[in-house]
């Protein structure tokens, strides 16, 4: 899988020459990349390199200064009616570092509220679907609990179920395990691995190199707002080409 050989039909997300800066400080400097359908891409890089900003531009939680991000054949950063943007966003699952569950709603309501309110799914149907998804992430018994009653790992699994409830063809993960205690990282990664095995297209910012090695089809290494290297994980971890990537991996091993 190389960067430029796919046809538009195979592309899930295409990022073209994306630039973004906060004031005079450039965060993304002409990012060129694409995610192919069914592919799992892991974005890694040192902190402050622009990883989170990049993934947040993909569903336009962050605006960009120039460039385009194509999803479903549409540039999500084109001027468009908010209705269209909301529809596009509802088809891109997003999992946050801090879960951002809705604390005033029970677990099952967290998962079913958006299908009901955004897609107009009947409440009974949405609830059944939510219970199935909760079962899938191993939390069927927590359906009636409130987010405040759950551990971090459980909250993040609910957040994944909540994103899946909108039936998105693509899932984005922004450091999904960084806010978790070490013993809870595994349960979240297991759910993500399950998703990958089912063929979900995934773009993950993560520091879990074991996950990248095992599940990713490609790794993007990003530093100072530029993608310096993209490679399959075994190649990236054994023989990183870019000196900055070599240094990053050496630092990780210590």
């Amino acid at each position: 899988m190389t960067t430029s050989a796919s046809s538009p039909q195979q592309q899930a997300i295409r990022i073209s020459n994306v630039c973004k800066s906060y004031g005079n400080y450039p965060v993304l400097k002409g990012i060129e990349a694409e995610v192919i359908r069914g592919e799992v891409v892991v974005i890694c890089g040192p902190s402050g390199s622009g990883k989170s900003t990049l993934i947040r531009t993909v569903n336009r939680l962050e605006e960009i200064n120039s460039g385009a991000i194509t999803f479903d054949g549409q540039n999500i950063h084109a001027p468009m009616r908010t209705k269209e943007l909301n529809l596009l966003r509802s088809r891109i699952g997003f999992v946050f570092q801090n879960f951002n569950l809705f604390p005033h709603l029970s677990v099952v309501e967290n998962v079913s509220i958006s299908p009901i309110r955004v897609k107009g799914v009947a409440p009974g149907v949405a609830r059944d679907k939510a219970l199935k998804l909760l079962d899938r992430v191993g939390l069927a018994d927590k359906a009636g609990a409130y987010p405040g009653q759950l551990s971090g790992g459980q909250q993040q699994r609910v957040a994944i179920a909540r994103a899946l409830a909108m039936e998105p063809p693509v899932m984005l993960f922004d450091e999904p395990t960084s806010a978790l205690d070490p013993e809870m990282v595994g349960e979240v990664l297991a759910v993500m691995k399950g998703l990958a095995a089912e063929g979900m297209t995934m773009l993950c910012v993560t520091h879990e190199m074991g996950f990248a090695r095992e599940v990713a089809d490609r790794v993007w290494f990003i530093d100072a707002g530029e993608i310096l290297e993209t490679a399959p994980p075994e190649e990236f971890f054994k023989h990183p080409r870019h000196p900055r990537a070599q240094r990053f991996l050496a630092d990780l091993r210590h």
């Binding site: 088809r91 604390p103 405040g148």
Partner: protein
């Protein structure tokens, strides 16, 4: 002295309860309660609209409401009441009943105060909740209605209750423009008796205290019930934001 008070209540309870009604306008406690309930019921939605306008990205919505809120909060309520009472008929030529003047003034005044409470509640939630709602495809208004406001308003219940209680107390100022409320009735009683102002106004104070205290009590009970339902054994997210809300309200 307790005998005096009982006699006063015996002789004047109907006047204190409903004023001159049915021979004159409805007044007394009934009118105080109606004025308070209407003020609160109207100020609450007005405050949400004010708060949303102040948080809006459109300056045309944001600026006028910001100016209104600042001016209203920076002027004594009595001043606003006198303005509405004397200036509105002068400008419009309309003969507005004093009850309506008082109601409108209270709604704008308390709406402005409450809007700052609501706005603080929204801002205190942080960006994450809105981000999550937007990422799921909610429109701004849908996110506000189903995700942000339920939490913000809940967190702000203590501050909102104190504003509601303040509203009830502020209805007494209607006295200066002859709104026939409980204070007005009590002062009528006092004018007839002439010699027992302490007893009359003690009755008045006790009645106001009872109303305000029961509202506070009721609100606290409701709040405890909700937080029991929601609170977990570990990391309850409501409590830190509630603490935050209290700090914010104390600063107002």
């Amino acid at each position: 002295m307790i005998g005096d008070i009982i006699t006063i209540i015996n002789d004047y309870w109907l006047l204190l309860l409903i004023g001159q009604y049915p021979n004159g306008p409805l007044g007394g406690l009934a009118n105080t309660l109606i004025l308070s309930a209407l003020s609160i019921a109207l100020a609450f939605p007005v405050s949400i609209l004010f708060a949303l306008a102040r948080l809006s990205k459109w300056p045309l919505l944001r600026w006028p409401v910001t100016v209104l809120v600042y001016v209203t909060r920076g002027v004594p309520l009595l001043m606003l009441i006198l303005w509405s009472y004397f200036l509105v008929p002068l400008l419009t030529g309309a003969d507005v009943p004093s009850f309506v003047t008082m109601l409108t003034t209270l709604v704008i005044y308390q709406g402005a105060f409450l809007s700052e409470v609501v706005r603080a509640g929204i801002v205190a939630l942080g960006e994450g909740q809105m981000d999550a709602a937007r990422a799921l495809g909610h429109s701004y208004l849908s996110a506000m209605r189903f995700i942000i406001l339920p939490q913000a308003l809940y967190n702000m219940i203590p501050s909102m209750i104190s504003t509601f209680v303040a509203t009830i107390k502020d209805t007494t100022l209607g006295y200066v423009i002859n709104v026939p409320d409980l204070t007005f009735a009590a002062s009528q009683v006092n004018n007839q008796l002439l010699t027992q102002p302490f007893q009359v106004f003690l009755i008045l104070a006790v009645v106001y205290y009872a109303i305000c205290w029961s509202l506070t009590y009721l609100a606290n009970a409701v709040e405890r019930r909700i937080s029991r339902r929601r609170a977990g054994p570990a990391n309850d997210p409501a409590s830190p934001s509630l603490a935050q809300a209290k700090i914010v309200s104390e600063q107002l």
